[in-house]
Amino acid sequence: MCKGRLEKIDDQRWRIPMDYKPGMRVEGIVYTNEKLLQGLLKDKALEQVANAAFLPGIIKYSLAMPDIHWGYGFPIGGVVATDIDKGGVISPGGVGFDINCGVRLLSTGLFYEDVKNKLEDLINNLYHNIPAGVGSKGQIRLKLADEKKLLTKGAAWAVENGYGVKEDLEATEEYGRMKEADPDQISKRAYERGREQSGTLGSGNHFLEIQKIDTIFDEKVSRQLNLSKGQITVMIHTGSRGFGHQVCSDYIKLMLECLRKYQIEVPDRQLACAPVSSPEARAYLGAMNCAANYAWCNRQILMHITRGVFEKCFRTSWEKLQMNLVYDVAHNMAKIERHVIDGQQKQVCVHRKGATRAFGPGHPELPSRYKAIGQPVIIPGDMGRNSYLLVGTQKAMDETFGSTCHGAGRVKSRSQAIKTLDQRDILRQLQEKGIRVRTASKQTICEEAPQAYKDVNEIVDIVHNAGIARRVCRMRPLAVIKG
């Protein structure tokens, strides 16, 4: 896309006009800055923002968060809402294959001085206990009937089975459970793929990180969250593993048929979709919600293992170590939500493909502990820079269907990273910063190198300045497990 086609709205927003491509039903709005925009013009990410604007029933605009990069069908960092009452569609490609890929953040009562001599021990034990990497298997094996219970209950199944406590659920988006999950909409193959993968981290950009809070931006909110400078946190990033990948594959195939059946034209087959009210879309929602529950259960189990490792290392209970869940957010989901559109409450289907829900203060779906401050938003960066905790805002409700960015966003392809970077150099650079890394694959070191990502600090500056999330504090990595 050439820059001349974009209209600058303000310092954080650019518009892709509706006449950019015949067939766009709304305009595109891209949250970025002048510098990052130059990079965006080089690949097809902005084209994908325009393509998503073709979806029937789309409301207001096709949105892109500042960590936007070229995906498949939708851009990564894309947000699209459709009007269910006006034939609005749901697109499995607008959720992605890793359904409910997301992040959770645990706080601890520990400070850097408490862990500095134990970091090696901690990371080695975490690496030993958390199945990571391509093809890794978890410890949980369930009969079909129990698997269905897991898919219906999500993180609550994990808690019922001893992996955590009820308070964890209150600190999880949707309380860790999509109620409309329907295990009968799951294929045999998806069950097979998911069977051995509960309680696994996966590979690629999935990680577990021990971090230290290095900057407090909002003292008041930090205090309310019991967070202070120097405190140790743990972040876990993973999703629904092979189970979710199969659900998405199954339903994209079905939705290709729907394009013909409902006479929908989209510029990319990966945008295959169906009206939310159609039986095919209902089936997808039931299946997608199962995958979302699988993912929440997965992160809950991994957190439980993490607590266990800390308990052994510090020879005391996780409760005494105050290892509490701050929050867990999804960043690949489609949800039926209520939003105010042109002054009226409407039920809409919000797709967040590489974007985080960021509900503002007072939202009825937030638990009481977060009603006053807004929903915690967790933004992981790359393994050499920072990660952030933010809170959702009313402006996000007004402008972005209560959404914000989800991470740093890739800038270098994996093959480019492997070709141009040396894993020994990267490990040395990380070591110089005091960051320990354990990984199942050496290739991952290059693929996931800080140089392959945009600077998360810049991304968070944009969402903060645009007002679609507010900075609370910043963490820096101390020890990282990569899949």
Binding site: D43, A45, H69, W70, G71, Y72, G73, I76, G93, G96, F97, D98, G133, V134, G135, R189, E192, R193, G202, S203, G204, G242, H245, Q246, C248, S249, I252, K253, L256, D268, R269, Q270, A272, R410, V411, K412, S413, R414, S415, Q416, A440, S441, Q443, G483
Partner: protein
């Protein structure tokens, strides 16, 4: 099976393959080879315990050849994930633009047989196209990794 039958396409977040084949059969076989070369590398060396070959009979249908290619790769990928195997041979018995029937052979992934490199989550339909170029068939496929 060598890399001259396919090449990698640059993609910011994911991995793409440009696959070539003298005919549709070659194209489907080379696409599978390319996909599994991204996932894993066969370990060299002798004295390693041999794993028993496994065979699967596959029959798939789709609306057109492009969607059939994605169905084919998706099926191989998900079988590989379920059974922890790498497919290393394919005998295509029947291939029309809407149907494929094949017997495929696989080897179990163990620490001795394969070095696993990249987890492919799924095969996408993004930018999917099959075209004839310089007397050969060419396809482009993007994988979600």
């Amino acid at each position: 099976m060598t890399s001259k039958f396919y090449e990698l396409i640059e993609h910011t977040a994911d991995i793409g393959l440009r696959v070539f084949g003298k005919d549709a059969e070659g194209l489907f076989t080379n696409a599978a080879t390319g996909m599994f070369d991204i996932i894993a590398k066969k370990k060299a060396g002798s004295g390693q315990p041999k794993t028993k070959a496994r065979f699967f009979d596959i029959e798939l249908k789709a609306r057109n050849r492009e969607e059939l290619l994605i169905a084919w790769l998706s099926e191989l990928l998900s079988l590989s994930d379920v059974h922890k195997i790498i497919f290393n041979r394919a005998h295509i018995q029947q291939l029309t633009p809407k149907k494929i029937k094949a017997r495929i052979g696989a080897e179990r992934i163990t620490e001795h047989t394969y070095q696993l490199n990249t987890e492919i989550k799924a095969v996408t339909y993004h930018q999917l196209k099959i075209a004839k170029r310089k007397g050969r068939l060419q396809a482009e496929v993007i994988f979600d990794v």
